[in-house]
Symmetry: C2
Subunit: 128 residues, 2 copies
């Protein structure tokens, strides 16, 4: 099969959904450029391209909470990835939660639907 990934549609980036390979919980979404994709495969540590900082970042480089690559899939139009990973550490979210998707919409308003999994100040320092 020819290369299905299409980095042209979103200015060199594709969306990368990270799912816990064991529990199937969706943990986060980031964006990868070709370099981040290649580095993820080479190191088996999931690596993104930060749109705000305009550089590569390997999840866990600050916290030690790396995401160990298990498998990777792409979608029908090749502009998104589904990354199955094993999270090292109690949570992927820099706010202290297991998943970045910790707020749910119910009865017309948003609320936090779970407790923190760790203290982000202890991991990232007081300044985040």
């Amino acid at each position: 099969m020819s290369e299905p990934l299409n980095f042209d549609k979103q200015n060199g980036l594709i969306a990368a959904i990270v799912q816990d390979a064991a529990t199937k919980r969706v943990l986060m979404i980031g964006y990868m450029n070709r370099e981040a994709f290649d580095k993820t495969l080479a190191t088996r540590h999931v690596t993104f391209f930060s749109r705000s900082r305009q550089k590569l970042w390997t999840k866990g480089e600050s916290s030690g909470h790396f995401l160990l690559l298990q498998s990777i899939a792409t979608d029908c139009d090749g502009d998104a990835l589904l990354v199955q990973a094993q999270p090292l550490g109690p949570g992927v979210c820099h706010d202290g939660y297991e998943s970045c998707f910790y707020r749910t919409f119910e009865n017309g308003s948003w609320s936090e639907s779970e407790a923190r999994a760790y203290d982000p100040a202890a991991v990232y320092g007081a300044k985040q």
Copy 2:
């Protein structure tokens, strides 16, 4: 909690990951603008904004394979949604697969990792 959704970061759009509420399989990713989000909540049929056609589209409007909204969560920076849904029909992908993520990367190349769930020509017509 104040409104966490941030439609400004991506030109009025936020990413919307759709996960099968029962099996936890990630089925697809689309994008929503505010109108699509509001329509999804109002109709309980997951609705996106098509970037290529520049208009709202309700998944299933052609195929009958609607996605029935079960719950909705947002991530820490409010530019993505995780939508739990019940898919009506055998698959969400217009290529005939249960999930749009039907190609996996193994041993250095991409391959289709599952069989089609339905015949897309029979659902969408010969021309897609």
